[in-house]
């Protein structure tokens, strides 16, 4: 924690309006971390790394979309070293645009196959650090109140009795919802997937902006059912809300939370140290201690008991390369806009 007097330096130096603050302190080794998971998890990771290596971590938390936009804006003079966390698609896009650095960690062999394939498909510019499957979060009180059955399959969600009870994010704004869109396309085929979504549209009460919003809305009873990543629903359950989380019976898609090294960042050595450390079992077990129940990518890391185990969930063989590419994404999103988003 900084002292107040240390902050007076800013006051003094604003006199020259457009001059950068000079930082006279002797430089210990440091790392600038862009973090795209919850605040709690981010600071726990930053502290854990400082404790393990003595390297000072300056952490900024932003959503993955925001971080990606920031990396693009800063590309000519990067200010960050590592981008840790957040759904894999923007990491893959950053890799595609050459915003991130190639690095093959010695830790790769200790990772789950899905984490390694994330690395291979990006030319080792990013790697998987956790995974989470898509599912439904439903409010038990609301369903009971309205005498509605518990939905267990994608096919259930388009039944007329759920009219006005379902929430999902807008894929134009949310990576979660784009994962859902891509999963449905892979599960049903493109035309059938859009037919399905048109029917689903009749039951949707709102397309939210953020991907985890449906889980929160379900927790507070603002909607009966939310379509979101299962760990977001688990977090609400642990937080004391009357919700349960279920994986759809037909199979479902998943995200691979990823990590990348920023190309041309100020501290490349510290960045690689972080990269290797973040793939260790100890580092990956930090998540569960701060109520984040994603599935870790290190084979040796303990899977938290609350986490929706990926073994019992029927996962589709999600093609991250194809559906993470800009061309496919743009085509699917503009079709969604035309056929679903513009409906009243």
């Amino acid at each position: 924690m900084k002292t107040i007097s240390g902050r007076l330096r800013l006051l003094a130096s604003t006199a020259a309006l457009a001059v950068t603050l000079s930082n006279g302190a002797a430089m210990a080794e440091s790392l600038v971390l862009y973090c795209s998971v919850g605040e709690e998890w981010c600071s726990a990771m930053a502290n854990g790394f400082s404790r393990a290596t003595g390297i000072d971590v300056a952490m900024t938390r932003k959503s993955s979309g925001e971080t990606y936009a920031q990396l693009k804006a800063e590309a000519s003079n990067p200010k960050g070293d590592v981008w840790w966390g957040g759904t894999g698609d923007p990491h893959l896009q950053a890799a595609e645009e050459g915003l991130t650095e190639e690095y093959t960690s010695p830790m790769l062999e200790k990772l789950q196959p899905w984490a390694v394939s994330q690395a291979t498909s990006s030319g080792n510019r990013t790697v998987g650090i956790y995974a989470g499957a898509l599912g439904f979060t439903y409010n038990t009180e609301v369903l009971e109140d309205k005498n509605l059955p518990v939905p267990s399959c994608w096919a259930d969600l388009i039944k007329p009795e759920y009219k006005g009870e379902i929430q999902i994010a807008n894929p134009n704004s949310s990576g979660t919802a784009y994962t859902a869109l891509a999963s449905l396309v892979q599960l049903l085929g493109e035309d059938a997937a859009f037919d399905y979504q048109k029917q689903l549209h009749n039951n949707i009460n709102q397309y939210t902006k953020s991907g985890s919003a449906p889980a929160k809305a379900a927790a507070r009873g603002e909607t009966g059912i939310g379509i979101n990543f299962m760990h977001d629903g688990v977090q609400q359950r642990v937080g004391g809300f009357p919700v349960k989380v279920i994986a759809p019976c037909e199979g479902t898609g998943y995200e691979i939370g990823s990590m990348s090294i920023v190309k041309g960042g100020p501290n490349p050595d510290a960045a690689r140290k972080w990269y290797d450390w973040a793939l260790t079992a100890e580092a990956q077990e930090i998540g569960a201690s701060v109520k984040s129940f994603q599935v870790p990518s290190n084979v040796g890391a303990k899977v938290p008991p609350e986490a929706p185990s990926l073994d019992t969930v029927k996962l589709i063989d999600y093609d991250f390369k194809e559906y993470g590419s800009s061309a496919t994404r743009q085509r699917l999103l503009s079709r969604w806009d035309d056929e679903i988003g513009s409906l009243n």
Binding site: A58, T60, A69, Q93, G175, N205, T223, Q236
Partner: protein, 721 residues
């Protein structure tokens, strides 16, 4: 030469020959860079030597007559600024910045860092040499203060508003795939998503333009009328709880983002308290009506009414009662007096309040985000075009242009409505009239709108405060101080006091940045207002529009554009506190300007002229005559810029760094994580701090002393808000 001209010439030389020219980044071993003169002479930066030309020019012309010396200063200023800006942008961290320069001069491994102390001092010296020279040549009646102010305001606005904003807007013409820039631009600007009117004919959505327009007009009208009702009650009635009423109207303005929206959901959401009550008592079905236009309107009206109130109260107080008395003497009744005397004099206030409400509504991002439901507006669309899974900066640019066009439209409608009439009622003559009381009917209308609104606000804030002290708002309402302990914990250790709470860091940074930027914002804003109202110069209308530019654009766009513009030399300030301060100054300045313009157009120019005739300079006139009469506007400007620096969120999301993290970005992180308790506890603390700060500002600035009697029989003058 005059002493002031010497001063700026000397400053230019000091910056050039003595101060370190460049700003050296942290990773660099050299702690200080050389002054430009030595860097130029000894070869590390020979491209700086041509600056000797403008620096020597005024000296060469020393012995000539006044006119040529003035012209030399003008030339030196123009050459100096042009050369510095050009070489700064042309040659950056990685050599040439533009491809054509590389093809002309060949590749290079030399580079230059951002401007440091020396470069900035010299740049400003050139600017003021230019304005000094112009004044000496007789521009603006030879008034150095006025030319200097115009130069400062225009120069910095061009650099900190126009430059970053234009980087974003030009994105709209990025070639899309195979298409040429022009075709891409055309397609983006005519997208059905923006303009479609299909909701009128079939079961499809309307374009986002129409949504934003409808929302902006409704919010502008509602906030103006509510603000007027409050302002009239506060000044023209003997309502017993005036002070309490004023406090309530100020509360929403000091509320951090998301908090009101969350409270509204907990009250009116499908599972909200009010909804549950009506469902149980009257068997009214639970619905999600709040998500969409009704919800956004409600929160925006709550949030922006105070601004309208602050603008209007100054105007209402400023109306000369003798005009109303004259009307009464001529046998007009109260209603006629109000309709034909008071109301027309209120027009500048109403127009400015509406314009602010309209533009605030268009640029508001937090409330539509939480409560918008499926009602899309431009600001959220732009945000997700930048950060959403589309990642389409071209679309963001096009949408931003549409948003700007809406604002230009509103701006011109406002000016048409105000016309060229005079609204001056504060004259040098003493005014011993008594403000007319409101017509009875109107008084009750004011009561009927303002009082329920005040009660509603009160309930909402009780709930918010309550939310900070319970375990889990809406679920587990047992008392707990956990949230405050987590945010603001203090521990006493062997090394002394440990600020162990997680929010201390961001709290201190926030207060510091807000305290620095508020007086600068208010100062720049009022100075600009003075130039707009009191001076006449070519290009004034476009100047006025540029000052409004940064306000009309959603914060996110400003944030991204600031990174794009200021991450590389010549001005490399990302990751510092200074970029936050600059962003706040230029983003919040428009409200100071509006408040200043509204207040200043009431003050009779003969007061200025009187002071000038008695031998005061224009700077003295501003300080001794205009400023004391502007006190309500100063309070409004200071309060608003301080508060906005604390509560604004979308602009700073991209600008905060680990070292300069702000309260709002902490709160947003908590809200995203569903930890409403922590967010609310922090917000409640901020509300208390801001309330204290506002009281302090009012106390420090003092009230405007105009001889007016109040309408009630109470003899004492009302304390202005």
């Amino acid at each position: 030469m005059r002493r002031s001209q010497w001063f700026w010439l000397a400053a230019g030389w000091i910056g050039f020959a003595l101060l370190p020219w460049y700003d050296t980044p942290l990773s660099d071993d050299r702690t200080w860079s050389l002054p430009a003169l030595f860097a130029g002479l000894f070869g590390s930066a020979p491209w700086l030597l041509p600056l000797l030309v403008p620096l020597l020019l005024p000296i060469v012309y020393l012995t000539k007559d006044v006119q040529s010396r003035a012209s030399a200063l003008v030339a030196a200023g123009i050459i100096g600024i042009a050369y510095m800006v050009l070489q700064g942008f042309a040659f950056g961290l990685n050599g040439w910045s533009w491809a054509f320069l590389q093809s002309v001069f060949g590749p290079t491994d030399r580079f230059q860092n951002g401007f440091g102390y020396g470069a900035n001092v010299t740049l400003f010296s050139f600017l003021f040499m230019l304005t000094e020279g112009l004044a000496a040549r007789g521009w603006m009646k030879g008034d150095r203060f006025v030319t200097g102010s115009i130069g400062l305001v225009i120069g910095t606005i061009l650099f900190f508003v126009f430059l970053p904003v234009s980087t974003i807007l030009t994105n709209a013409a990025i070639p899309d795939g195979e298409q040429s820039a022009v075709v891409s631009f055309f397609y983006r600007m005519t997208d059905a998503d923006i303009w479609s009117l299909s909701c009128a004919f079939e079961n499809r959505r309307c374009g986002v333009f129409w949504n934003s327009l409808r929302l902006g007009i409704l919010t502008g009208a509602i906030t103006t009328l509510l603000g007027l009702a409050f302002a009239l009650i506060a000044t023209r009635t003997n309502f017993p709880f005036k002070r309490g009423l004023r406090l309530l109207t100020v509360l929403p303005i000091i509320t951090p983002p998301f908090v009101i929206s969350l409270a509204i959901i907990l009250l009116f959401g499908r599972n909200g308290t009010v909804t549950t009550f009506f469902a149980d008592a009257f068997d009214i079905g639970r619905s999600r009506w709040i998500y969409g236009l009704p919800g956004i309107l409600m929160t925006q009206a709550l949030a922006f009414t105070p601004i309208a109130f602050l603008v209007l109260i100054g105007v209402v107080q400023g109306i000369a009662p003798s005009m109303e008395e004259a009307s009464h003497t001529l046998r007009a009744n109260r209603w006629q007096t109000f309709r034909y005397v008071t109301w027309p004099l209120l027009r500048p206030g109403l127009a400015n309040a509406f314009l602010i409400g309209f533009i605030e509504s268009l640029a508001d991002f937090g409330n539509p985000l939480v409560l918008g439901g499926n009602y899309d507006v431009l600001s959220t669309k732009i945000f997700f075009a930048v950060v959403g899974s589309q990642n389409d900066p071209g679309r963001a640019g096009a949408l931003a242009i549409v948003l700007l066009m809406l604002c230009v439209g509103a701006f011109y409608v406002q000016r048409r409505w105000l016309g060229k009439k005079s609204y001056q009622t504060l004259t040098g003559k003493g005014d011993s009239g008594r403000p007319s009381e409101l017509p009875r009917g109107l008084k009750y209308v004011c009561y009927a709108t303002a009082i329920p609104w005040a009660v509603f606000t009160l309930i909402l804030y009780t709930m918010i405060m309550f939310g900070g002290f319970v375990k889990n708002w809406g679920r587990d309402n047992s008392f707990s101080l956990d949230h405050f302990a987590a945010n603001f914990g203090l521990e006493w250790t062997e090394f002394g006091l440990l600020w162990s709470g997680r929010a201390w860091d961001s709290l201190f940074t926030t207060l510091e940045i807000a305290a620095i930027s508020a007086p600068l914002t208010a100062g720049m804003g009022l100075l600009t207002a003075y130039l707009l109202v009191r001076q006449r110069f070519a290009g004034q209308a476009s100047f006025e529009f540029i000052t409004m530019l940064s306000f009309a654009i959603p914060g996110t766009v400003i944030g991204v554009s600031y990174i794009l513009a200021f991450n590389t030399p010549p001005l490399e300030i990302t990751g510092t506190g200074i970029i936050l301060i600059l962003c706040f100054i230029y983003r919040n300045m428009p409200v100071s300007i509006r408040a200043g313009v509204a207040a200043m157009s009431q003050i009779d120019k003969s007061l200025d002229e009187c002071a000038m005739t008695l031998g005061a300079t224009s700077a003295q006139t501003v300080r001794r005559v205009v400023l004391p009469l502007l006190r309500p506007a100063i309070v409004a400007a200071l309060v608003y810029s301080f508060v906005r620096a604390i509560t604004s969120v979308s602009a700073v999301i991209f600008l905060v760094s680990a070292r300069y993290d702000l309260a709002t970005s902490y709160i947003v992180g908590r809200v995203e994580n569903g930890e409403y308790g922590l967010a609310i506890a922090y917000s409640a603390t901020l509300i208390v701090i801001m309330a204290a700060a506002i009281t302090l500002i009012q106390f420090a600035v003092g009230e405007r002393k105009v001889s007016r009697r109040t309408s009630s029989d109470a003899v004492k003058q009302e304390v202005p808000a």
